[in-house]
């Protein structure tokens, strides 16, 4: 239910600067941090202190392949894109080995097999730098806080929707519908009326109830469905409303205050 928190954080200035590690696991993490084959290539070029406009392709290719092998040895799943780049590098390397046509000196620049790769690297680097800029901005923004909740927000604790939400919600309904239809009713575990009663008691006793917690106490799909219908029913008929403290946060059932200031 809950969107999974991203586990790893990184620091542009230190973490990707070099690959040294005390332990295997640490090495694994650091190697896993390359955002893609272009990122790895840039790192290797920097490592060799090479000129990006004159990449020593043989050396870089060897280094690149060494890292791919190292990643495989460490059981890091190597994305297909890394392998595609390896093939590209090998191809460029072999082209560079072909004897040059002495008559085509003029076109040497044009024919440089590295040219396309260099263009891609330069283009990619701009966005990598832009990503760093975004990273810095978000770091600054994290030191700035909006006001706390005020009374009038309560009227508005609803979800603003995007087209993506619309589709996601629709898929969820379809999945739920399928489940309901295919479900066999084995036995009457708890009636809707009982479920509503117990739900109401708990909301009114505590003022609010986290739906996720409530659902987690239930054991069968039948109970879950009954509980779900009970929630919708109670929201419709009682002075209880559904709210989310934040987007994709848990959904809370909250008793509506009878009087508002």
């Amino acid at each position: 239910m809950q969107s999974e928190l991203e586990q790893y954080t990184f620091d542009f200035h230190s973490e990707t600067a070099e690959i040294v590690a005390e332990s295997h696991d640490e090495l694994k993490i650091k190697l896993g941090e390359f955002a893609g084959p272009l990122d790895l290539l840039l790192y290797l070029i920097r490592q060799e202190q090479a000129n990006i406009f004159d990449i020593p392709i043989a050396t870089i290719t060897d280094e690149y392949l060494k890292y791919i092998r190292l990643m495989k040895r460490l059981d890091i799943s190597v994305a297909a894109d890394f392998l595609v780049m390896a093939a590209t590098l090998i191809e460029i390397k072999s082209k560079m080995l072909l004897p040059r046509d002495p008559l085509a000196v003029e076109e040497e620049e044009m024919d440089d097999p590295r040219r396309e790769l260099v263009d891609r690297l330069l283009e990619y680097e701009k966005f990598k730098a832009a990503a760093e800029m975004l990273y810095e901005k978000t770091t600054i923004e994290q030191a700035v806080f909006p006001r706390g909740k005020i009374e009038s927000d309560d009227n508005n604790a609803e979800v603003s929707a995007t087209v993506f939400d619309l589709l996601t919600v629709f898929e969820k309904i379809l999945a739920r519908h399928k489940e309901e239809v295919t479900m066999e009713i084995h036995r009457e575990e708890i009636s809707l009326a009982d479920m509503i009663r117990s739900l109401r008691d708990r909301i009114f006793a505590a003022g609010e109830l986290n739906i996720v917690d409530f659902f987690a106490e239930l054991h069968t799909r039948r109970e879950l469905v009954t509980a779900f219908v009970a929630v919708l029913e109670i929201v419709r008929t009682e002075s209880v409303k559904l709210m989310q403290r934040k987007t994709f946060g848990d959904i809370i059932l909250k008793k509506v205050q009878e009087q508002s200031g």
Binding site: V159, S160, A161, V163, L167, F170, V229, L242
Partner: protein, 195 residues
């Protein structure tokens, strides 16, 4: 706690004391971000300062808000301090709250809208069939927000009214036309099932 107190003998506090302006800034920020009125006690704890000092800083702050006579005030309420709008502005505030963008939809409305968008034209019994719950009030809300419109009666028993999405719906969700509505396949290339 004891260390933060300087006594007459002049024992220095463990940490660098803040000047009053700095403390006042912190107090204002804390009152502002707190979800509920924040007590002097809690302020003193968070800022690791004497309660008396906090009281005087808060009072100064309250007075400065009064002097400024802007749109906000700091009030003592329910045993704590809170920033709120001044009563003089309530008429304007009410008017703002009424203009809330209609993009805000409850979960029930959103579900109903999703069914209508993807299954249109669709009748109330059909929506019930799919959602498994009554959608009457959601449909009313959506009609009021003009996100859906009626699409004539269905030629079947009881001739139920059919609903579909409106032009406003397209504008609202930034869609050129209904064919522009994403399908599940559109997101296939980004991590399989999104449900």
């Amino acid at each position: 706690m004891a260390e933060t107190q300087t006594d007459a003998a002049g024992t220095a506090p463990a940490k660098e004391p803040r000047d009053v302006a700095e403390l006042s800034r912190a107090v204002e920020a804390l009152i502002f971000v707190a979800d509920e009125p924040i007590s002097t006690k809690l302020l003193a704890e968070v800022l690791e300062e004497d309660r008396e000092l906090i009281v005087s800083v808060v009072e100064e702050l309250v007075a400065s808000y009064e002097d400024r006579s802007g749109g906000l005030q700091i009030r003592e309420i329910a045993g704590g301090w809170q920033i709120s709008t001044r009563t003089e502005c309530h008429e304007d505030v009410r008017r703002l709250l009424k203009t809330r963008p209609s993009a805000k939809l409850s979960l029930a409305s959103l579900e109903t809208l999703a069914v209508i968008a993807y299954k249109q034209p669709v009748t109330v019994p059909e929506i019930l069939e799919i959602r498994g719950v009554q959608s009457a009030s959601a449909i009313k809300t959506l009609l009021e927000k003009r996100l859906i419109i009626t699409k004539g009666h269905k030629e079947t028993v009881g001739r139920p009214m059919q609903y579909g999405t409106s032009k406003e719906f397209l504008i609202h969700f930034g869609l050129k036309d209904l064919a522009d509505l994403p399908s599940i396949e559109d997101f296939e290339d980004i991590a399989g099932s999104i449900g």
